[in-house]
Symmetry: C2
Subunit: 358 residues, 2 copies
């Protein structure tokens, strides 16, 4: 087990060594640790190795000139100059929030970026400003659209954070696929089958082998198959792709560069880097904030107290599982898989940092 | 078979008799006929009876004072004064478009409205202005959230329309459930089973009986069950509900009034009427319009030409099936189920209008 503070400080030091200034390094560490404590370890410490390799291969720019290249009162395009995605996304969301402060809402499409970690982090930045926050990103292709055999879309997550009053905020943060890629990796390592309806093999047949992505197979969009609505999951993922990449001038669909360090960069490019899309809407651009929050409390109570299926005490409110996980992990500490800890130790040695394998 | 023009003129006359002015009656007719030709008859002529009964019971206001009650440069709340939803939605989307013209984007949340027909219609209004259009609405409860037995959410559709260049626009228009309620009605009438994964019975068991909604059962969110991602469909539907109703001051979740005429109004109200949410973003608030459209053409070509599963010639682009259906139906005419035509004839007689049962 590691304490939050130990891993936070270590991650900060890694990013400092990679050329980030103090503020940027702290931000990246906060993103990695947020993923760990919210129970999304696939976007946590395990990914340090990918960021470090991309840095060594000069596929990310440690000293980027991130800037607004076009704007209106309520919109902007940000060019991230190949920054670490977390730094690009944090900058872009701040632009969206400032625009919302000025004219009610702000919408930012970002290009020339990289993997940005957990989508919900940026959406949640809006909460302290009494705003609704929205965040989405495209990602390297793993998902076949309806009736296709080809990996054309990423897991393209959407996050929406909405302030409440006496209750914690509503925070939805979900990939537009039935399952996260990280869960497949874990199942494959364990040799477990997974349910049908999540994957297809290279010929388009339903498949329960979590390792099929490496054998020409692909993930299916949310819905799974046509009769269960996978055309809707495909639409949703496509909207994320277009808002993130076509609006900004980033690579779309199958051309999104891989952030996983053992995959090569694409041969063809149709834009610059990875794309994101952010939104912020001031609550009081619609309703007085206190009234809105009281109504959100009523919404949360209504759903929380709905009758439940056998074996469940209450209906979950989006964001609640991650919040409960965070309380638990901040209390108990963070555990790393031994092979991950060993890998991190190797990086620490290369960078001249201390790291203890526990 | 009926010609487009015959049903269009007839529907216009019905709405004129219900107290709409000429412009409003033409708009409502256009909405009903758009649903028919786009292959969504569940929102077409069959629904005239519901609107007519709601009108007779004074649950819709034929002479509403629709107005903006709060606004910022990029946002507004519209109070629809219990208008026909189509008239309220058309007004609101025009406000969103005008705000986008002024400051890049416009976002409108609408309360005290009613059923608004097909979501895609309003999203598509943005296209001729070189804008992206967004439309969503809550609806009377049919859907149980993850781990609940209760109908808490509507089929809450989302539509997004995005302009392209030489190709027709990208138009996604989908309910946040795996299947539309209209399809269940048809299956129940035919005595067909439907696939598992769309419905649950009153105890939360998987169910394939399309009539189960009348026996305490409920629809499931997109994803179907937890292991296939239904928590994501629940999140999506909840977001539509909150944007449409909590932002505007309409009824949310289980309190949304039914528009189906044989269902009674709710006993409890937490806001005014049904809620909608609309967005418009000027393309050139992000990219020069010609560059964006050329890139969208490239996006469409890339996806259209992806390798296909056996039995399919090409990957579908969102909006394509409805567009092909429209060409076919405008050529061949519109057929009505005999019982629907007979019912419409009864309404025509009451209103002193001509209608021929064919």
């Amino acid at each position: 087990m590691y304490s939050y503070e130990y891993l936070q400080k270590f991650t900060e030091n890694v990013f400092s060594k990679m050329g980030c200034n103090a503020e940027e390094a702290a931000l990246c560490a906060d993103l990695f640790l947020s993923a760990e404590v919210r129970g999304i370890p696939s976007h946590g410490i395990i990914r340090i190795r990918d960021y470090y390799k991309l840095f060594k291969e000069k596929r990310i720019n440690p000293g980027p000139d991130i800037r607004i290249v076009h704007e209106t009162p309520s919109t902007a395009v940000v060019d991230a100059d190949r920054a670490i995605g977390m730094i690009a996304a944090h900058y872009s969301m701040k632009v969206a929030i400032e625009k919302a402060r000025q004219c009610g809402s702000g919408w930012v499409s970002t290009r020339a970026s990289n993997h940005y970690g957990i989508a919900g982090y940026y959406a949640m930045m809006a909460l302290e400003h009494d705003m609704i926050g929205i965040s989405m990103t495209n990602a390297n292709p793993l998902v076949a659209p309806l009736f296709s055999l080809s990996k054309m879309l990423g897991t393209n997550p959407i996050a929406v954070a909405i302030p409440a009053g006496k209750y914690p905020p509503f925070v939805a943060d979900f990939a537009t696929t039935p399952v996260a890629n990280g869960k497949l990796t874990v199942a494959a390592k364990r040799g477990d089958d997974i349910p049908f309806g999540l994957l297809q093999d290279k010929d388009g047949n339903p498949c329960n082998d979590p390792a099929i992505l490496g054998q020409g197979g692909s993930m299916l969009p949310l819905g799974g198959d046509y009769e269960h609505g996978s055309h809707k999951g495909y639409c949703l993922s496509a909207i994320v792709d277009i808002f993130s990449a076509v609006l900004s001038g980033a690579n779309f669909g199958p051309f999104v560069p891989p952030f996983v360090s053992n995959l090569k960069a694409n041969e063809k490019s149709v834009g610059e880097g990875t794309g994101h899309f952010f939104g912020a809407m001031r609550i009081d651009a619609f309703q007085p904030a206190s009234e809105f929050k009281a109504k959100m409390d009523e919404w949360i109570e209504t759903f929380k107290n709905a009758s439940t299926t056998p074996g469940h005490d209450s209906v979950l409110i989006p964001g609640e599982p991650e919040r409960l996980k965070e309380i638990e992990i901040r209390r108990d500490g963070i555990s790393l898989i031994n092979s991950v800890a060993v890998e991190i130790k190797g990086i620490a040695d290369e960078l001249g940092l201390e790291f203890e394998v526990r």
